[in-house]
């Protein structure tokens, strides 16, 4: 009966037994970074009617023979404390940054480093989207990577990808990285 300690819910998890591999992805970042726009663009939905997220959105996207369940949680300051409730069993973290919002680079860096330290995200690969590259004032991805000290991450896979959620540019490259990475990791 040693299994009993593992918890019944882990058993229920196995019950679903779908043939498809399911991946849980959490999409985080400051408010107005473009998380929901990115989510909708991933799901090929209209991105013109998006309002600030007060709660969270979930979309399931089929990609590379996997089912990606993407959770987009609101980024407003008052919601951020709730982030950690959504980190359990996460396979991958997507962190979105508004590349044109230089004033808040520091703030977004702090939030990211807090997430990296979360127990539930230990070793979880992270993809950073340097969003809003369609804006003239956007900083290049390399600059942002430097500011975030990404090169100091030793305990996990990471990647920074320049993109524009509105135009869709760069989004697919990021997804490709995710799929390759998950496949590698799950092997």
């Amino acid at each position: 009966m040693g299994e009993a300690q593992k918890g019944l819910l882990s058993v229920i998890e196995k019950l679903k037994g779908s043939t498809e591999q399911e991946v849980r992805i959490v999409l985080l970042g400051l408010d107005n970074a473009g998380k929901t726009t990115l989510l909708k663009s991933l799901a090929s939905e209209d991105v013109n009617t998006i309002t600030p997220t007060q709660g969270f959105n979930i979309k399931s996207v089929a990609s590379h023979g996997m089912k990606l369940n993407v959770w987009d949680i609101g980024g407003q300051r008052k919601i951020r404390p709730f982030w950690k409730k959504y980190l359990e069993n996460t396979d991958l973290l997507i962190y979105v940054i508004d590349s044109a919002d230089k004033k808040r680079f520091e703030e977004t860096g702090l939030e990211l480093s807090e997430l990296i330290d979360e127990e539930n995200l230990k070793g979880v690969p992270v993809l950073i989207f340097a969003n809003k590259q369609d804006l003239a004032t956007a900083s290049p991805a390399s600059e942002i990577a430097e500011g975030l000290n990404l090169h100091t991450y030793r305990d996990r896979e990471w990647q920074i990808q320049a993109c524009s959620a509105v135009s869709g540019e760069g989004v697919q490259d990021g997804m490709n990285w995710i799929c390759n990475n998950i496949v590698n990791k799950k092997k």
Binding site: L15, T53, G55, I58, I79, F82, K85
Partner: protein, 421 residues
């Protein structure tokens, strides 16, 4: 675990998931917590908290159950993944369990529960108050739009049947004057036309149709202003009142006042007062009483000679005018009838020959007014007519078919409404 082992475990689990020990706490939980779950695309943060609570509840319940029955988690898992448990029927039983691990499934269960409760509440409010308060009835716009559409159709039908009634009227007047010699075109053609429809008509319904034909002129007369009689106006008024008021019911009522009308020509004073009285009663019962009265009055209204001199004169005038109309329409009608006759000629011979003065119209009526007749509350016969009509529709010319289809559509709507009541 052995195969046969898992089977009884599955059965036991399914039994438990249908037992009060499971159903009551889970349902209680859902009913208590579902109110925040709406159909919005975005999820509220509170959903997650509720989902966590739900997980704990299910975990506790299942653990207790497994301890009681004496199975471990591996057995539980084996049982639940066995093909037996994967059947469609059992999948829905396991849904509340799987919802612990699947937020989307949990959410949809809760949204569904919330909707069920809301509908229940609406039903209760309706039962208590008889109707929903205005603040709870959205979709009013849609309704009025529908009603408007219905009204348009009604008006169309009204116009059409008016035209046809006029035709009938012209013929009818002619018949009244040349009582004996009506046998010619008028009586033969409708006869053939009516075909099987007439077979199914019982005597009373024939009478009512006759009454109707008698009454039709009222509408036309109003237009002509030849009559100008107060009773005719009141009849027309009651018509126009009824129509906007009761949507699709108005077909019944519209036809019925017309039925009522013949009285006007013979006994003017009687006709107007019952009409106004009967307006207030519910349309269905009123319709029935009208019909009954019409049956009686159809007899009274006939004797042309009993009318007063002035009325006779008026009738003469009308007849003259209508004869003109008839001549115009006759040519048109002839063509239409020819097509119909060819279609239904096989059935015609088998029909018993009716009294020439009344039946031609009575018989022709249901055919032409097709869908108008069935909604009349007059017992079964009209229904039979209706079916006969619909079976014939295919054989009738495209133009006629369009007309009939419109009416049939209307009649179906009416039927629906009457049945609902």
């Amino acid at each position: 675990m052995a195969e046969d082992d898992s089977e009884w475990v599955v059965e036991s689990i399914v039994g438990y998931l249908g037992s009060p020990e499971w159903v009551i706490p889970v349902t209680d939980f859902m009913e208590n917590k579902c109110t925040v779950f709406d159909d919005e695309d975005e999820n509220k943060l509170s959903y997650t908290e509720i989902h966590q609570q739900y997980k704990k509840l299910v975990e506790k319940l299942l653990e207790n159950y497994m301890q009681e029955v004496g199975i471990n988690e591996q057995q539980f898992l084996d049982a639940c993944t066995s093909p037996f448990a994967k059947s469609k029927t059992l999948q829905s039983v396991f849904q509340p369990v799987l919802a612990t691990d699947d937020f989307q499934m949990f959410r949809s269960l809760m949204v569904q529960k919330n909707m069920e409760l809301q509908l229940q509440a609406l039903r209760v409010i309706k039962e208590r108050n008889g109707a929903l308060p205005e603040c709870l009835t959205d979709g009013v716009d849609v309704m009025s739009e529908l009603q408007q559409q219905e009204m348009k159709i009604l008006q169309e039908v009204l116009k059409k049947s008016k035209e046809e009634y006029d035709e009938e009227m012209s013929r009818r007047l002619l018949l009244e004057e040349e009582v004996g010699s009506t046998s010619s075109i008028c009586s033969n053609k409708p006869l053939a036309k009516s075909g099987e429809a007439r077979n199914t008509i019982s005597a009373p319904s024939q009478q009512s149709s006759t009454a109707k034909t008698n009454g039709n002129p009222v509408i036309k007369e109003e237009k002509m202003a030849a009559q100008g009689g107060g009773d005719a106006k009141s009849a027309a008024k009651s018509l126009s009142k009824l129509i906007p008021e009761c949507g699709s019911n108005s077909v019944e009522s519209r036809v019925l006042p017309a039925v009522r009308a013949p009285v006007k020509s013979s006994e003017p004073s009687v006709s107007s007062s019952p009409l106004t009285k009967e307006q207030s009663s519910s349309s269905q019962t009123a319709a029935e009483t009208w019909l009954e009265e019409a049956h009686r009055e159809a007899g009274f209204s006939k004797p042309y000679t009993e009318l007063s001199a002035s009325q006779q004169e008026q009738l003469q005038q009308r007849a003259a005018y209508l004869r003109q109309q008839r001549d115009k329409l006759h040519a048109l009608k002839k063509e239409q009838q020819k097509t119909k006759q060819t279609a239904t000629s096989e059935e015609a011979p088998s029909n018993p020959a009716p009294a020439p003065t009344t039946t031609p119209e009575a018989v022709g009526q249901p055919q032409r007014n097709g869908a108008c007749t069935p909604p009349l509350p007059a017992p079964p016969p009209p229904q039979a007519q209706h079916s006969a009509n619909s079976s014939k529709q295919k054989e009738i010319s495209a133009e006629e078919r369009k007309k009939l289809q419109k009416r049939k559509h209307l009649a179906d709507k009416l039927k629906e409404e009457v049945i609902k009541k």
